[in-house]
Symmetry: C2
């Protein structure tokens, strides 16, 4: 099954000149979604994963399904102010300005094996900040898994030596 | 396993006087999360479900895992402006003002059996709007499933004759 054929290009979203990779057409298709979850989980079947950290909000769809598949817990990484209890926060730079991501301060215990999950690796800012958050709380980042990598944005250069697992790479828009 | 014991009360979130039911403590625990997904899916194992519509954003975590478990597709119901292609929209009233929810116009085909999923049934505004959206596109709402119902907010009164499946009910704050 060629999962790339289930991704839809949407032109000029979220702004003029951008070609947006729409994953909802893959989610819609039971067989493609199931295959994506199976393939995303495959490298981790024989490795200890205690927690998946899923990045808001499309990372919740993949991360939730993967946590069930791998039999591990799930931690949401969210935009500031969304989580109710005490959080730790990491900022990161965007093209214009800054943004930040938070997880609950008691979500990860020292030495836990953590897998970071999102749908898309673009510039890598959110993923890099999430990986730093896991480290701040003493977690070991086993890897980071993405459905799609936009290779031309070189996001993987920001993720240091974290082992990456990517199902499809787009080398140009 | 008493899933209620995994829910954490957070006081004064998102504002003074509110007791927030924090589900992240359940998600963290692999056994509790797995049991919640299994129990949420149970009534639908022998009924046709073509699609799960998960409501942004905590509904994505449960809906994604349930779609994988039931072997069906997944459709995100999102806040306005987040979905890239053509959408249909339904507005609903909040305590102060209005909000809206959208799904892609081509996400649901006439006659499809659709299950609506969210973590929490509170006042029922978003869930009711989502159910109307499914109907607008010709889908049949098989049911709506929630981890938690805040019974004292009477949200189920807004959901008409949609069959509801709820794992835990809180009758008071």
């Amino acid at each position: 099954m060629d999962l790339k054929t289930f991704i839809r290009d949407v032109y000029d979203f979220p702004k003029k000149g951008i070609v947006f990779k729409d994953i909802t057409t893959l989610l819609l298709h039971a067989g493609a979604f199931g295959e994506a979850i199976r393939m995303l989980c495959e490298p981790y079947l024989d490795r200890p994963v205690d927690l998946i950290v899923g990045i808001e909000s499309r990372g919740f769809i993949f991360g939730g399904a993967m946590a069930r598949e791998l039999g591990c817990g799930f931690v949401p990484a969210r935009k500031p102010g969304k989580l109710p209890a005490e959080t730790v926060r990491e900022e990161y730079t965007l093209e214009y300005g800054n943004d930040a991501v938070e997880i609950h301060a008691d979500a990860i215990r020292r030495g836990m094996n953590v897998l970071v999950v999102d749908d898309l690796l673009a510039t890598g800012g959110t993923a890099a900040a999430t990986i730093r958050l896991v480290g701040k709380l003493g977690g070991m980042v086993t890897g980071a898994a993405f459905l799609i990598e936009l290779g031309f944005l070189k996001g993987r250069d920001r993720l240091g030596d974290t082992p990456l697992h990517v199902l499809m790479n787009f080398e140009s828009e």
